[in-house]
Subunit: 390 residues, 2 copies
């Protein structure tokens, strides 16, 4: 993860939507034909990196939750707020009242902001609908946004985000409904590539999570898991066992969880923004994971509750300052590792011949400035699918 | 500090560089004449606040120090890096090699960035020169930047930032030089309003700091103090005793320091960015200060070592999440309290008749979104001296 393969005096040649050559400028120039129609973007004294891949976001929601932010500042815990009807359930109530058109309208400036901070692909979860109709609505919104906006959105079904209000006293019925109706319908309509579960005390147990993930697999949805965020439940071990592509959060991962994930090829998606946004300090043991050879990815966890940011750069700052990743490790975690965490390692996440031309030109001389110069936006230009869009 | 005096359906009327009326839109319209030349900025569904006043910055420097950032991530302390020739001394070496024109060129994009995040006035310290010539050079750069850039820069002389290399074995001589030549010369040339001292173990002792501040007062420079940042030295008590306008940092302030500052009217300038940027968690006891009635201000501490950010919004996020200020308290601390901390409480820091028309229109519906939606930029427009500049 420390090896970025930096090229000084480098160039990237693009044809159509793809990268056709990368290397020292003179070598690239020797390989490609330049004519009058060739567009040249001079990036002297700048840094060019692959676009960030933000592999864990919840971008489709209605109302923001700044009042909960203030309550937490005043001492309430996330769990207390959730029990009092706030948290995910309040976002569910808000989302259900909105139409697809309204949700698209709300999402567009968020997607613009992701792009403005150098992110070119996001994983996008449903999970604020929690009824068949509303989950389908969100996934259709994600599909539409992917079509109309330059940012790529990779859809994940998260019907197992919480037990909705109307099932609160009959959780088993909700899980049956999820398994027998929602997952099959989402799969049939090809609206998601992944199926995620929030495995946690008071949310979905290990056993329930396993049942949901196994069902998802049968329907062709790859499982991923919110694991060990608020307590050490054994979610990491379960994610490995089920063959999940990633286990996310992992604030309370055990040593055996690290071993199991490594053994099974499950990627650790770390979300320091949700620790920060909750005003806490229990960052996941990233150094231990990296030292043990477990691949680590980074994401914003963009959502209106625990982590309200579209900025990958601030996540890199948190990763370096709070989890002691080096700047190079943080870049790897936010690009190529994150691409693998959403099964796109072959097409995005690095500047390589044949990959998508998703690149960001940074107005800096050293990539280390991205985490170091925190809380600001150092992006100069964003190139998506070979086109300069910002 | 909790009382923002919010006005719903409000308006601000400006004439020339000043605010001439503030209140409910209908009341403002009743007070002022509107004609064809009146420019109206519709800010419906937006929030209008006074521009932030960033009352502690070090904006004039040469090389950035991202390599030190990486060393800290890897485990070196700030003090170890300073002892090995890094830290402030490395910035001094870099700055001395640069001309005024070069320093201005480097500073301009920084000033643009301050403005872009809604800051309309900064306090700007010298302190990377540490020779008469180089300190004067910095203060002249600050003066020039204040003239040519819309941002207002309020100059502070910080010759007592560190003992420079050439005096390392004769610190008393440096202090004599400071007192007998630098302070008088800076005062004579009217290049600074304030005189700051870094009072800390291995930097300037309590006794030395007192001597420097008392001299500054005699020459008409108001004293302020870097106090109790890395250890509980009694800097807060000294700041109060000398009648400093502010004591800044205060991570290790004692209870008697809080009492003394309150008694003497010294404002507490808190710099959570430098705790964050150093990867530490020893935030100052802001709640205790506020609860005891000590006025608290916020600033970025923008500098290339410990806190490399021009963004007041991320400082507000840190203030709320790490020091438990409410969003309203954080806004007060970053506007009117900060204005008082640089002796400008009568002219900036709030939207009041007669004050400068330094205002920011935010693309949000609730001011609480500023700290809540962290790491991004929600500024819609910046109005400086009555003119829309961004």
């Amino acid at each position: 993860m420390e090896e970025l393969g930096l090229i000084e005096d480098g160039a990237v040649a693009v044809s159509g939507k793809k990268i056709v050559a990368v290397g020292k400028t003179k070598d690239v120039l020797a390989k490609v034909k330049i004519d009058r129609k060739t567009k040249i973007i001079n990036s002297e004294d700048k840094v060019v990196l692959p676009g960030f891949v933000d592999c864990h976001t919840h971008p489709i929601f209605g109302a923001t939750r700044e009042e909960e932010f203030e309550l937490r500042v005043k001492g309430k815990t996330y769990e207390e707020i959730a029990k009092a009807g706030g948290g995910i359930r309040s976002s569910v109530r808000s989302l259900r009242e909105l139409s697809k058109a309204e949700l698209i309208e709300l999402a567009l400036p968020r997607l613009d902001r992701f792009l403005s901070f150098g992110t070119t692909t996001i994983e996008a979860k449903s999970g604020y609908g929690l009824s068949l109709k509303d989950e389908i609505k969100i996934l259709e919104v994600i599909k539409k946004l992917d079509q109309i906006h330059p940012l790529d959105l990779i859809p994940t079904f998260l019907g197992a985000h919480e037990i909705p209000d109307e099932y609160i006293d009959k959780r088993e019925e909700y899980i049956d409904f999820l398994i027998n109706q929602m997952i099959p319908e989402v799969a049939k309509r090809k609206l998601a590539l992944f199926c995620d579960v929030f495995c946690e005390k008071n949310v979905f147990s290990l056993e329930e999570s396993k049942k949901i993930m196994e069902t998802a697999k049968r329907y062709g949805l790859k499982p991923r898991l919110h694991a060990d965020q608020l307590s050490s439940l054994g979610g990491a071990e379960l994610a490995g066992e089920v063959g999940a592509i990633s286990a996310d959060h992992l604030e309370y991962i055990s040593d055996s969880g690290i071993e199991k994930m490594k053994e099974c090829g499950t990627i650790a998606v770390l979300l320091p923004g949700s620790v920060f946004g909750l005003g806490k300090d229990n960052y996941p043991p990233a150094r231990k994971m990296i030292n043990k050879g477990l691949p680590v990815a980074l994401a914003t966890d963009f959502n209106p509750g625990s982590s309200f940011t579209e900025s990958m750069p601030i996540i890199l700052s948190l990763a370096c300052l709070k989890m002691k990743l080096t700047p190079a490790e943080a870049i790897t975690a936010a690009t190529v590792n994150s691409a693998y965490a959403i099964d796109r390692g072959d097409s995005i996440g690095s500047l390589e011949k044949g990959k998508k031309a998703d690149m960001v030109i940074w107005d800096i001389k050293n990539y280390k400035e991205i985490p170091y110069h925190y809380g600001v936006n150092l992006v100069d230009k964003v190139i998506k699918n070979g086109e300069m869009i910002r």
